[in-house]
């Protein structure tokens, strides 16, 4: 293969850098602005949320995007952590909604994927096809049926209305099935001959080899549900039970400084998870497309 020219590499680098910056800027802005004083926030964003004569909020034109605070201040964090416990409560709401969904979805996906991998046949193919169709549907399509089923089960305004539909997501099953199919059949057969039962084959042979896929699925699911807005808005009518993501989507004038701090705190779990499992994530996603027979 020919080596890329210096100019070509420079172009590629600049393009990548522009895209990276475009994605990073909002994050950097949020993080740096969270360390601004309230007066500096007001000076920069005071005009953003301005009351109209009719009483509704609208976005004004004057915005002063500033990345470096004049003076580093922890006032916003102090407010969030010590003066306004409702933010921490909402953070906790996010945790108790997201963590069970991640754990249950990974567990359900692993068991379903194992089933799809180990047993072949027309029935299996039919069910798998059904899963793929479900996967192709946008979330909004299933939201109404989810609402109806939750209502029928009496789960509306309980966390289970979000956790249960979240636990059975077709996308994770699809990804993990593709990953599991890469495990050579001879490994399963060797385990059988070695005396392993189906559960032992699943837990001791298959799952350890799918660590990368399991981690990447867990992370993707975590990000997805950590940032959810529609589900809690529709299925949880009690604001006390709603997660922080809902609050962040509904920031009002006067709270923008706090919102920066809350958003920064809110990003920490995702960032830590990503940094911890970056290697697995890359491997897990890279292997989804390369199915070997």
């Amino acid at each position: 293969m020919r080596k890329k020219s210096l100019l070509g590499r420079a172009c590629a680098f600049i393009t990548a850098a522009i895209f990276a910056l475009a994605f990073l800027l909002p994050t950097i802005l949020t993080m740096t602005n969270s360390f601004m004083t309230q007066s500096e926030i007001d000076a920069n964003y005071g005009q953003v949320f301005k009351s109209s004569t009719s009483g509704s909020n609208f976005v004004a034109e004057q915005v002063n995007l500033k990345f470096i605070p004049d003076k580093v201040s922890f006032t916003q964090y102090f407010k969030v952590l010590f003066q306004s416990p409702e933010y921490l409560l909402k953070f906790w709401n996010s945790v108790i909604l997201t963590v069970p969904i991640v754990l249950l979805q990974v567990a359900v996906a692993a068991i379903a994927a194992y089933g799809f991998t180990r047993w072949r046949g027309k029935v299996r193919a039919g069910i798998f096809f059904f899963y793929v169709i479900l996967m192709l549907m946008p979330y909004q399509v299933t939201l109404v049926p989810n609402y109806l089923v939750s209502s029928w089960l009496g789960l509306l305004n309980t966390r289970w209305a979000i956790i249960l539909p979240g636990a059975f997501a077709p996308f994770s099953v699809f990804l993990l099935t593709k990953y599991m199919r890469r495990i050579p059949a001879s490994l399963i057969e060797a385990a059988k001959l070695d005396g392993a039962g189906e559960w032992q084959i699943f837990t001791r042979i298959c799952l350890p080899q799918c660590r990368a896929a399991l981690y990447s699925i867990a992370l993707l699911v975590f990000i997805d549900y950590w940032n959810m807005v529609e589900q809690p808005l529709i299925l949880l009518s009690d604001p006390e039970k709603q997660p922080l993501s809902v609050f962040l989507s509904q920031i009002n004038a006067g709270e923008i400084g706090v919102a920066f701090a809350v958003a920064t705190i809110y990003m920490i779990p995702t960032l830590l998870l990503f940094l911890h499992g970056e290697e697995y994530l890359v491997e897990g996603i890279a292997h989804q497309g390369s199915v070997k027979g």
Partner: protein, 385 residues
């Protein structure tokens, strides 16, 4: 006792594809039997039926005295070495070897003792803490064998275990398997498509083609007394030469006319042909390359290329359209002064090594193919009943 008995075993895939048919064989306790044949002949399928990895469509399979048709693989007391080693990549070598023992809930001290012993036998003690990806092909194969022997199974199955190794390592591992077999005294069933492996390892060889047993016998029997043209052609390298000849009989003595030359068959061959009442006419003569000599007399053929293989030189020649190969020692006159391509040379067969086959069925006219189980293992059926 770990005899393995196949009674008319049949395997059909998808209700139409017959992979193995009427497989009838009795493997003695502690015998090393090699299934050999070309790709798709059903040898691996047969092995997998013994392992319990394939269901048996028809027939009975016994391991020891137990009918195992419906017995789970883990309850058959067998172990298997796979072509691709099938090592668990997330486990260390120690854990790989210990896995079957852990599954049987053996005490830790016993597991450690057995793993250490197996590692010593296979000379992999230094590798016990490594993961499979940090091992060479040969080392992986040793670990796979270690995992199999540690359990001390009744029957030891090997599915083309050397085919992923390079030629040098393959020879080395072959010797290792012979040594291993001496140390662990159990029944072996070994599958290969490599006839050299089959000849060097097996007490008996089962030659298979298209799901059927073509011949069962010791390496010497299969080589010297092939039951049919398939076996004759499959066993031996270079392949046996086949020539259409005219069989004649005069005063009870048979002869063949090949390449314008008449070769009088031995008394033993004539007796066999007489006993089988073989009529004169067109037959197929088979002669191995190493049993053809280049000289002044014999079949007149047109010389083609010569191949130096080390100890022997393969001289290719044409008898009409039919290509023949003569393998002569590299120190012989014919090898030292190889014939010019296109020149006429004479090939003389060793008459007592001539094989004769029916031109229609391909079956041997000289050797009977005995009913395997009756001849080689007469007591098997009675023992079980």
């Amino acid at each position: 006792m770990a005899q393995v008995i196949f009674e008319h075993v049949k395997k059909v895939y998808d209700k139409s594809v017959v992979a193995v048919e009427d497989f009838d064989l009795a493997i003695r306790d502690r015998e090393f039997v090699v299934f050999v044949g070309p790709s798709g002949c059903g040898k691996s399928t047969t092995l997998r039926m013994v392992a319990g990895l394939e269901e048996i469509t028809e027939g009975q399979l016994y391991i020891g005295d137990t009918l195992v048709n419906n017995v789970l693989p883990k309850d058959r007391d067998i172990s298997m070495v796979f072509q691709n080693y099938a090592l668990y990549p997330h486990m260390t070598v120690y854990d790989n070897i210990a896995f079957p023992l852990k599954m049987r809930k053996m005490p830790k001290s016993e597991i450690k003792k057995r793993v250490t012993e197996a590692a010593e036998i296979l000379d992999i003690t230094d590798l016990l803490k490594r993961k499979p990806k940090a091992l060479s092909g040969g080392q992986r194969q040793r670990v796979a064998i270690g995992r199999s022997i540690v359990r001390e199974p009744k029957v030891f199955l090997m599915d083309e275990p050397l085919s992923n190794l390079d030629a040098k390592l393959r020879n080395q591992m072959r010797t290792e398997i012979i040594k291993l077999r001496r140390r662990i005294d159990t029944t072996f069933i070994y599958v290969t498509h490599d006839q050299t492996e089959a000849m060097t390892l097996g007490d008996r060889i089962v030659v298979m083609d298209r799901g059927h047993i073509m011949q069962v016998g010791t390496p010497q029997e299969v080589y010297a007394r092939p039951a049919n043209m398939f076996v004759a052609g499959f066993i031996g390298m270079p392949q046996m030469n086949f020539i259409g000849v005219e069989l004649d009989v005069s005063e009870g003595r048979y002869s063949v006319l090949a390449g314008g030359e008449t070769f009088l068959l031995t008394d033993a061959a004539s007796t066999k042909l007489r006993e089988r009442q073989v009529a004169p006419g067109e037959v197929i003569m088979g002669i191995r390359p190493e049993h053809l000599d280049v000289g002044e007399r014999g079949m007149a053929v047109s010389a083609d290329v010569c191949e130096m293989t080390g100890g022997t030189v393969n001289i290719h020649a044409f008898l009409g359209e039919r290509e023949l190969i003569a393998a002569v020692p590299s120190h012989s006159r014919a090898a030292e002064a190889p014939p010019v391509p296109g020149s006429i040379i004479h090939l003389m067969p060793e008459v007592d090594m001539i094989q004769l086959f029916d031109k229609d069925t391909g079956g041997s006219l000289l050797w009977n193919q005995p009913k395997e189980r009756e001849t080689f293992f007469p007591a098997a059926e009675d023992d079980r009943r």
